[in-house]
Subunit: 311 residues, 2 copies
């Protein structure tokens, strides 16, 4: 398949492109800035520029993977700019995909932020109503709905994948309020102390970036009856913060006592109180999480090691 | 209350402004073009112009009524322009309302188009999932979701009112696929033949423009627990096309035999196959439909007569 990936230069984007290429797809990488990568076409520019969109679709389009986003914290700081990227540009991309005339697959990176916070303590499943509180989550919910409409109209073949916390992102100003979930990996791996902004008992939904990349590759091939709203919550491991810390320290041979807890009430509510997740829709379609905290941590640490090796 | 009404120059807008003024509200009318009207402030311009928005909100804001829209047929012909008006401009208006700092009421004119077509034959109620097929309906569903989010955030006090077919609109190129519902009033009242594009047995959800205007006035005062998604489907009369024709002819003293039927399959599916409607959420909040086909027709004909009297 010729797959156009937007946000290809981002963290999830880089890993998804690699996984797509490894699966034999022709990948068109699109982003404002891109590092060189083998076996793919690269287009640097902004999707708001019609010439860029025309270039990307010129060679045909079997699928689009829409990853670029202004995440939670950054969206709250600049709502109008976030709207442009998250809402308007997503629409422009669906328009281009529809115009391709091939009813291409359209995979949209949505987020568990569509469920809002606090979440129902008894758990979240595929019938939990969407009730975002972050602008970012609201943008995702709106585009999910838009993609479902265009799919009903037969213009695209859409699927929104709701991603949990993806680890371990690089240490960088990402605009993500949930950055602490990745920062703990970098800290303990480097033998540095880490002050957790959520409690030891905080529960999070996590997925390694490799598992996320695999989910996008799988979604291109996913067969079976897709739900009417064309959205699935990806399976995620539900991990306690102290158990995560212990496992990272163990695999990193870090000394004990590096982690202390100074919970921030807002972060605890938004990211540290995630109830049990029943993602049976996605599981039935063949999507998987990392399998265990041990494997999640191993995968995340391996990602960091690979990235450092490339420097 | 100081109520800012956008789309104040449109059909529903003119009647809503009149009803708001009659109820003692201070009305700020906003549209690209406005006829003079007593007892209200008028601002002509485009909401995309920040200066216009600033002017509208300068005197304070207790409530916003968002009526302007690019309707079904017109939106299909120019999707990008419809997106700008229906989605982007609605967002800009919510932003301005949120910035007012008073958590103003925000009434959004949504549409039964959010339910899509064909509708479940057994009926529609407050639990029927949204599944728009028209771009217009998709835009409405997205902004409903956006308004619910901003309401959860405490930035506005939103409510989306899903309007059924509103009669009798003026004869004019309105961009509405459902224009036939109004055209039949004008034809029979003038003693002219009318070819119905839906069958005699077609069932429609209708409301007079006076009842719609009353719904907006009522919504400003509506007390009681509002639903979490902050959207209500307004009660509507379910009327058969032949019964509507008979009642219009009777009240207009029109001769019989003026109406013939040449159903168009697409219009019949979209507008002529509306199942029973249970709008109990709205009814519980004190919203009403016209009460009977007789009263609906009387109200619609009176609207036409008043408009003609003003010419």
């Amino acid at each position: 398949m010729r797959v156009i990936v937007t946000g290809a230069g981002g963290f999830v984007g880089r890993h998804t492109c690699k996984a797509l290429i490894a699966s034999g797809h022709d990948v068109v990488r699109l982003d404002r800035a891109l590092m060189p990568a083998p076996a793919s076409e690269s287009i640097e520019g902004d999707l708001c520029d019609p010439a860029i969109v025309t270039r990307a679709f010129a060679g045909g389009c079997d699928a689009v993977v829409r990853l670029a986003t202004v995440p939670g914290g950054a969206a709250e700081l600049d709502p109008l700019s976030a709207w442009r990227t998250n809402v308007d540009t997503s629409m422009l991309l669906t328009e281009a995909a529809a115009r391709a005339g091939t009813c291409p697959k359209f995979l949209f990176a949505s987020s568990i932020a569509v469920f809002g916070a606090p979440l129902p303590p008894e758990g979240v499943d595929d019938d939990t109503p969407l009730a975002p509180r972050l602008l970012y989550g609201a943008h995702k919910a709106m585009i999910e709905s838009w993609i479902a409409t265009l799919t009903r109209r037969g213009e695209i073949d859409g699927l929104s994948l709701r991603l949990p916390g993806i680890v371990a992102r690089p240490i960088a100003p990402s605009g993500m309020k949930s950055a602490f979930m990745s920062d703990i990996f970098h800290a303990l791996r480097g033998g540095m102390p880490f002050v957790s902004p959520v409690s030891a008992e905080a529960t999070m939904w996590l997925m390694s970036v490799d598992a996320a990349a695999k989910a996008f590759v799988h979604a291109l091939a996913a067969a079976g009856p897709l739900p009417g709203d064309r959205a699935v919550t990806l399976p995620a491991l539900r991990v306690r913060m102290d158990e995560l810390a212990t496992e990272i320290a163990r695999q990193s041979n870090a000394r004990t006592g590096l982690v202390s807890y100074e919970p921030d009430a807002a972060l605890e509510t938004a990211f540290g109180a995630l109830p049990p997740l029943n993602a049976s829709r996605a599981t039935d379609l063949g999507f998987h999480h990392d399998g265990s905290t041990e494997r999640l941590v191993a995968s995340a640490l391996a990602t960091i090691a690979r990235t450092e090796g490339q420097k």
